[in-house]
């Protein structure tokens, strides 16, 4: 039960983030919104990491440097997300994001890119993505 609440809240926060970013962009501009919210998040996480988080930043040395830069995608993600929300609304934006996100995961995991253990992906995942696209078409009609 507790796990469910966390998962539902987590999803809600992701949707809220999109809506809030879109609102803030209207107030101060899109790059401003991205820079400001990432900065606040960074400072908050840093404080938690320093005071309560186990582990150390030295651990990052064991990570292949390429993967350090995953977070940098957020700039483009926030920009496209905000622009999409302002043009097609939150529901369609979230739907398109989820489809592309799962399709990308599918591609990476089935090819074993970026050192991910190759996984057997097959028909169910294809059908799942096709159903999601069908859902968007119904949503739009």
């Amino acid at each position: 039960m507790k796990g469910w609440i966390y998962a539902v809240l987590g999803g809600g926060f992701i949707a809220l983030q999109g809506a809030a970013n879109s609102r803030i962009s209207e107030g101060i501009g899109t790059w401003q919104a991205a820079t400001l919210t990432q900065f606040t998040g960074f400072v908050t996480a840093l404080i938690i990491a320093l005071f309560v988080g186990g582990g150390s930043f030295k651990d990052l040395k064991q990570v292949k440097p390429l993967y350090w830069f995953g977070g940098a995608f957020a700039a483009a993600v926030i920009y496209s997300n905000v622009t999409a929300i302002q043009s097609v609304g939150l529901t369609l934006t979230v739907a398109a994001v989820l489809i592309a996100q799962l399709a990308m995961t599918f591609l990476i995991e089935s090819r074993g890119w970026f050192g991910i253990v190759k996984q057997k992906m097959g028909l169910p995942q294809f059908i799942g993505i096709a159903m999601m696209i069908a859902g968007v078409i119904v949503l739009k009609s």
Partner: protein
């Protein structure tokens, strides 16, 4: 219309890639170290893009409101919730519920016109569309555990084992 959907899909593909990158970092570093790095990189990249496109204008925050400054903490909330949910339920259940929750909240807020979103009336098509998307998510995540279509999917699963 298509422009907006394509842009959203572009962002979604990047989210998928970012998740993989962050997962690789998380294998070696603690959850908070990883989150700090991820958000720090996001800040650096946004700052760079903002400066490149707008120069000093980036710092002219005319219509700034207090809550804008706190909104970034939502991202920290996301990490806490998803990490806890994954610990308690495992990744497949946790992400499925989170994805379904995300699209459901989106539809709810769109139809309420909440947070300055353009209010759209709730229609049967929207409910049906979101329901089909939810079924798609479940198929993607749990499809190969289902024993249906004459064991077609089970064969795939057995190959894996």
């Amino acid at each position: 219309m298509w422009h907006g959907l394509l842009l959203a899909a572009f962002g979604g593909a990047l989210v998928g890639m970012q998740n993989i990158f962050n997962k690789r970092v998380g294998e070696r570093a603690s959850s908070w170290t990883t989150t700090t790095l991820v958000l720090g990189m996001g800040f650096a990249a946004s700052l760079l893009m903002g400066l490149l496109t707008e120069g000093g204008q980036l710092f002219h925050l005319q219509h700034m409101k207090l809550w804008y400054g706190f909104s970034g903490m939502i991202g920290v909330g996301v990490v806490v919730c998803i990490t806890q949910a994954t610990k308690l339920l495992g990744p497949t259940y946790a992400t499925s519920i989170a994805l379904i929750s995300q699209i459901s909240f989106a539809l709810w807020w769109d139809t309420q016109g909440w947070m300055g979103l353009e209010k759209v009336p709730f229609t049967l098509n929207q409910a049906a569309g979101v329901l089909i998307i939810i079924c798609g998510i479940l198929m993607f995540k749990f499809g190969d555990r289902m024993n249906m279509l004459g064991g077609l999917f089970r064969v795939k699963r057995l190959e894996k084992e």
